[in-house]
Subunit: 173 residues, 2 copies
């Protein structure tokens, strides 16, 4: 509970208390947890937006997929993204493929290893008004969502990408 | 012409002359160029199979997408892949995202830069009998296919992946 309170205080400080005082939904849980707590259905079938390799501590290789609303917006360059946009980031351990490297004759091939997590950004300008219109979600490899404390930095970090409506990923043509 | 002749001799040596003596199609050009010379339609809308980062000289970040036949086979682990399978590998320069790194506070983020090429593997066990049932294709960023000499090493290299029916990429769940 302290963690949730901390999140609320933090979010309220950043974006103004007004949005939290009038939650779009009557559901108390949703108001208390302004992030995505259920995996959007069917995301593994969505279209590919781009790939990304995060080196260093994250050591992550993955892909960003988008639902039809997201894909249309990415392709048209629509900013801000319209309500209904859902962006999924599928992350895996970045591992060297010894099998590939052997054939290439050199160390070069980095491929997805074990899944680590799936993250979502869900655009709903009313429901997630307190976090720039985006609901953030993070589900570990076991499919379970993380807690509010884990989700706390998402908005603050993404908010630095105001020019792209808080979205890091750019469409790969 | 010398290049095409060289390819034919090379392929014939590797896989036996018989297959080339009885091309599945009556089209002389197809028999003379046993690789993919037209981009399959709609591939950018196909589902995501996996991402890959090739370091070193290739310096490539991209994604492998599959048509519906391919996706079904990858998910079911079907080997060999059935006729009708088309696999697309979309390649881009692997570039550091200064914008992302600035926010992360460290150098870590590698994203797709300019498109470099798109490669295809088309399964047609009759048409491409001479190359393991696969037609290989490579289209530069300008959309134009490469010549026969460029395509020559494709089969020899992929043939080392016999256990995966000549396919490097493995499905990212």
């Amino acid at each position: 509970m302290r963690r949730i309170a901390s999140l609320l205080i933090s979010v309220a400080t950043m974006t103004g208390v007004a949005a939290l005082m009038s939650p779009a939904s009557g559901n108390a849980d949703e108001a208390a947890a302004p992030y995505v707590t259920e995996k959007p259905a069917g995301y593994r079938d969505w279209k590919w937006i781009a790939s990304a390799h995060e080196e260093g501590k994250l050591n992550s290789l993955g892909a960003v997929l988008g639902n039809p609303v997201a894909v249309k917006a990415f392709r048209a360059g629509t900013i801000p993204f319209p309500d209904g946009t859902i962006i999924a980031a599928l992350h895996y351990q970045a591992v060297s493929s010894e099998e590939n490297d052997k054939i290439f004759g050199q160390k070069q091939s980095i491929v997805p290893g074990s899944p680590t997590n799936v993250q979502f950004m869900v655009k709903d300008s009313k429901k997630y008004a307190a976090t720039g219109g985006w609901g953030f979600g993070h589900f570990n490899a076991d499919g379970k969502p993380v807690d509010a404390a884990f989700m706390k930095p998402c908005f603050a970090c993404h908010a630095q990408f105001k020019a792209h409506d808080l979205v890091f990923t750019q469409y790969a043509p």
